[in-house]
């Protein structure tokens, strides 16, 4: 239950500038996910918050209390920050039983014996692993170890729970289970959570907010759906979403409060109310039209607003079908729910809702027209 504020955080390893002027506010009760490809600084940010790394510049407060002030070389100790961390490797102490692992921090806090016992029980109950209390970590499966690691972290009643790629060592099925488990913990405890992952599905499904990282910088902070609908630049658009978003090169011109866009697929006119604050060049300029695959609907019959295209390939996969389409020199992908069968090179007709389309300035790669 706490509000974390990071201001102008810079972190260097030698001459390597790994965090560049990070500014981020995490509201009380948020499930904030730090998302990005590996090496983008998200784990470093988490370690800065935890106190395991000391940034060279910047200030961090938790509930208004200063935890980092690099100007004064002040860094509060990790244990004084009221937080706990679940490591990617779980970091369970192999020479201690599950009980001892969970009780370790509580013993250091010198809590009374009965309270330690009840807190251990409570944490185990929450993670549904009571029966393993006297096992050693190496006698548990990966998923069980994961639960112990989380139980150890929540046993200390942290105001802030940090999770560093906790699901990356689990198999696909366990991952789905643990995702719902984590969601429940967040609700039950009401704790603020910072969660690091490179897996966008994890980010989309669990978080209340996502901070997208790119090469040590924060490129976008938004709610999951907003991030999905309106990625701030081409790179973010490309990173978020599976299958990938379609990019179509085009030309755009902004005049008389209207944005006119043309690409090989279609031409559009957008109202200025849909536009972002990005500055738009005068005259005609290169743009990129971005369309999510699920926004491209395929019909076998021609109709109003439907555009004829050729089927290039067809991948039915049970619950969904991916159809590669081609018009002129542009390839793009459509995703349909359920099974669909098209012959290769068949002509089909697609319809796209203009309000679902994003437009980017090709020169700056920034979003200029939002989707609704």
């Amino acid at each position: 239950m706490s509000r974390i504020e990071l201001k102008h955080i810079d972190k260097y390893y030698g001459n390597n500038h790994v965090l560049r002027d990070i500014n981020l506010v995490i509201e009380d009760g948020d499930f904030m996910t730090l998302l990005g490809p590996s090496g983008c600084g998200k784990t470093t940010t988490l370690r800065v918050v935890s106190g395991l790394e000391k940034p060279q510049n910047g200030v961090m407060t938790i509930d208004g209390e200063e935890m980092i002030n690099a100007d004064l070389a002040y860094y509060a100790e990790p244990s004084k920050r009221g937080l706990n961390l679940v490591f990617q490797s779980y970091a369970l102490w192999p020479h201690m039983t599950v009980r001892e692992n969970i009780a370790f921090g509580l013993k250091i806090q010198k809590l009374p014996k009965e309270e330690i016992a009840s807190r251990v029980q409570e944490a185990l109950r929450m993670m549904r692993i009571e029966e393993y209390i006297d096992r050693y970590p190496n006698e548990l499966s990966g998923g069980q170890q994961q639960r112990v690691a989380i139980a150890r972290a929540v046993a200390s009643n942290p105001k802030l729970l940090l999770l560093d790629e906790p699901l990356s060592n689990l198999d696909a099925r366990l991952r789905v289970d643990m995702r719902s488990e984590l969601q429940r913990i967040h609700k039950e405890l009401g704790t603020t959570i910072i969660y690091v992952t490179h897996d966008q599905v994890e980010a989309m499904t669990m978080s209340t907010k996502i901070a997208l990282f790119k090469a040590g910088e924060l490129s976008q902070v938004a709610a999951p759906m907003e991030l999905y609908m309106n990625p701030i630049d081409l790179e973010a658009a490309d990173f978020i979403g599976n299958p990938r978003i379609n990019f179509l090169e085009g030309k755009a011109i902004y005049e008389g409060g209207k944005l006119r866009v043309r690409c090989e697929l279609d031409s559009y006119v957008f109202d200025s109310s849909d536009m972002t604050d990005e500055e738009v060049p005068s005259g005609e300029f290169d743009c990129v039209v971005a369309i999510r695959p699920e926004q491209i609907h395929i019909f076998e019959e021609p109709g109003e607003g439907r555009i004829p295209v050729q089927v290039y390939a067809n991948q039915p996969a049970g619950s969904e079908t991916l159809v590669s389409l081609r018009t002129g020199n542009s390839d793009f992908l459509s995703k349909q729910i359920g099974l669909a069968q098209y012959a290769l090179d068949q002509t089909v007709y697609v319809s796209i809702a203009p309000e679902k389309v994003n437009v980017y300035n090709a020169a700056t790669t920034r979003l200029i027209k939002r989707a609704r």
Binding site: R20, D21, G51, Q56, D71, L72, A73, N84
Partner: protein
């Protein structure tokens, strides 16, 4: 946004916090203390020894006209390099050292590599047993081997006959003593380097690489030549380097087998100077010895630094299929059995039997056998045997046993602790300046052979320094312990590093986040996890100090004699049965320690 760090204006609170950050973290204190200690124990003695070769010492006042003690002089270096005796003091022994080193490599590396290949990669029978037997010779101290060699080959030149001479087989001096004997003796010891290196390299290489060659149509010799050998070449090269630098610096073997016929190597000659005069010439020789070893090791790093890396590439797949030897199996088995018989069984048998003989070379008839050498108590009978009482009634033996145990226990406890500590600093300081500095400082004693290293300490501590703040501890037991400890730093800290590497940093960080301070972190997390590695590291240091002769021989006197030194002096004095009996005791002691160490998962291959 700037990409450069800016300088901040001065700020009092900031400075206070910065100082607090450093001081409040005990880890920094630990690092600082150990760096200072390493500096005092390694860098300063080395500089001190180098300096002393340029300063006039008391002993040479008469020879250098008008000089005062402590004046700058080139006398010692001139004496050594261009003086009338130069060829006898330096060039002759240097040539002998190099020749011995070269031929030791020539014999031991192919031998060890083939053995390593047989055990790691072929379907030779009884592999487990063979793997164990093959490293046993390595557990035996090299000076014990030289005694065993003498027990077999001794001839009239050194008074009493050996096993072969006793059977009436004439043994020429060139076989019994000197270069041939030294080379063979050292080879039978140092082949273990190549064996261990090649064997572990082969184990780490995925056999799929070889199978791929087979699929491409290569024959077995072709696979061996163009895939297997290039992949293990880096480890063979580093085995060559280790063997070369070790054998050049070896004292015990060279002294036992060379001194009797006036065959000197750099190491043995140097010892004569340091225990005689002019001492500073001995130090100069020790510098040459150190430079030689450093040169070899650095040349090795330059040459194969890059290539070394691929010894571990195949580490992923643990699968390893054995090569079928087919018709070659029988001859190879015979070779192995003969090797083990002649390298281990026979010399050890002769050595042990000699301790029961009245006159060596007198055969094993009952009339020539006695227990007197072990438990003879009657002084009047002594002249009839070896002029001393049997070792169990011999006060010198008791003293030596006590000294050995005292030295070994104290030395190895300190070394093992320091090693774990240094290993902790090295691993946690990876990539930071103090980590690499510690690693480099700790590596320095590795460059020095035992005699050269102790020469350095003798030079340092034979007189007081800093106005008596560091007193002269020459001839004391303390100095011997100190020397043994520091000399074993590289090895102990390497085992400490390996041990600490297994403890993931996250385990410590998790404790930190849960509120554990530095002390709690060490006592509750690091120490319990390091326990097993610590014990095996401790046992290996223990054994290594117990069998040490080269390192402490310069510092020995009547009060500080250890078993290895006693055996050495008895042998030099021609009391072979007594010398043999003591080495049998040392051997038993070492074997027991190895068995215990093995219980704790110690790897013999990691010991020296």
């Amino acid at each position: 946004m700037s990409t450069k760090k800016q300088r901040r204006p001065f700020n009092k609170t900031r400075l206070k916090n910065q100082i607090l950050n450093v001081v409040k973290n005990p880890f920094n204190l630990v690092v600082a203390v150990s760096l200072v200690v390493l500096f005092c124990l390694i860098v300063i003695p080395l500089l001190q020894m180098i300096a002393s070769t340029f300063l006039v010492a008391k002993g040479e006042l008469r020879r250098i006209h008008g000089a005062q003690v402590g004046d700058f002089t080139l006398y010692y270096w001139k004496y050594l390099l261009v003086g009338q005796m130069a060829s006898a003091t330096l060039w002759g022994p240097l040539k002998n050292s190099l020749v011995c080193g070269f031929f030791t490599v020539l014999v031991s590396v192919p031998l060890g590599s083939v053995l390593g290949w047989l055990v790691a990669r072929t379907d030779i029978p009884c592999k487990k047993l063979l793997g164990m037997l093959v490293v046993i010779p390595y557990m035996i101290p090299s000076w014990c081997k030289s005694l065993a060699w003498l027990a077999v080959f001794r001839n009239k030149t050194s008074g009493s006959l050996g096993f072969l001479a006793g059977m009436g087989i004439p043994i020429p001096d060139w076989l019994a003593y000197g270069p041939v004997a030294i080379v063979l003796c050292m080879s039978l010891h140092y082949y273990a380097f190549s064996y261990i290196h090649v064997q572990s390299a082969l184990r780490s290489i995925n056999s799929e690489l070889e199978e791929m060659g087979e699929i491409c149509g290569a024959s077995k010799p072709q696979i061996l030549r163009s895939i297997t050998i290039p992949l293990v070449l880096p480890s063979v090269l580093s085995a060559i380097v280790m063997t070369l630098s070790k054998s050049i610096g070896t004292y015990g073997v060279a002294a036992n087998l060379g001194n009797r016929i006036g065959y000197f190597t750099l190491a043995t000659k140097m010892k004569n100077f340091i225990n005689g005069s002019p001492q500073n010439v001995g130090y100069a020789m020790s510098i040459i010895l150190i430079s030689l070893a450093a040169l070899i090791i650095f040349a090795n790093q330059r040459l194969i630094g890059v290539r070394k890396s691929y010894a571990t590439i195949g580490g992923k797949g643990g699968r390893s299929t054995e090569m079928r030897l087919g018709k070659a199996k029988l001859p190879l088995m015979i070779f192995l059995v003969l090797f083990l018989f002649f390298a281990m069984v026979m010399p050890m048998f002769v050595l042990v039997m000699e301790t029961f003989q009245i006159s060596t070379g007198g055969g094993y008839g009952l009339n020539n056998l006695t227990l007197y050498n072990w438990i003879g108590a009657d002084e009047n009978l002594a002249p009839y045997y070896t002029s001393y009482k049997g070792i169990f009634y011999n006060s010198e033996f008791g003293k030596a046993l006590f000294n050995t145990i005292r030295l070994t226990v104290i030395g190895s406890v300190i070394t093992a602790f320091c090693g774990q500590f240094l290993g902790y600093i090295c691993t946690r300081g990876r990539g930071k300046w103090y980590g690499s500095l510690t690693e480099q400082l700790v590596f320095v004693p590795y460059l020095m052979s035992g005699v050269a290293f102790s020469a350095m300490y003798v030079a340092m501590f034979s007189r007081p320094h800093l106005g008596g703040l560091i007193p002269s501890i020459y001839g004391t037991f303390t100095l011997i312990v100190l020397t043994s400890v520091v000399k074993h730093f590289p090895f102990a800290s390497r085992s400490g590093t390996a041990n600490m590497m297994q403890i993931a940093v996250e385990l410590e960080e998790a404790a930190e986040i849960n509120g554990a301070g530095f002390g709690k972190k060490l006592s509750r997390i690091v120490l319990p996890l390091a326990k097993n590695g610590f014990i095996s590291g401790f046992m290996l240091t223990f054994i290594s100090i117990a069998k040490e002769l080269d390192l402490i021989i310069i510092m020995m006197d009547k009060r500080t004699t250890t078993m290895s030194y006693l055996a050495f002096t008895y042998s030099q004095d021609g009391m072979n049965q007594m010398a043999d009996a003591i080495s049998v005791c040392v051997l038993m002691f070492i074997l027991i320690c190895y068995i215990i160490a093995n219980r704790f998962g110690a790897d013999i291959g990691k010991s020296w």
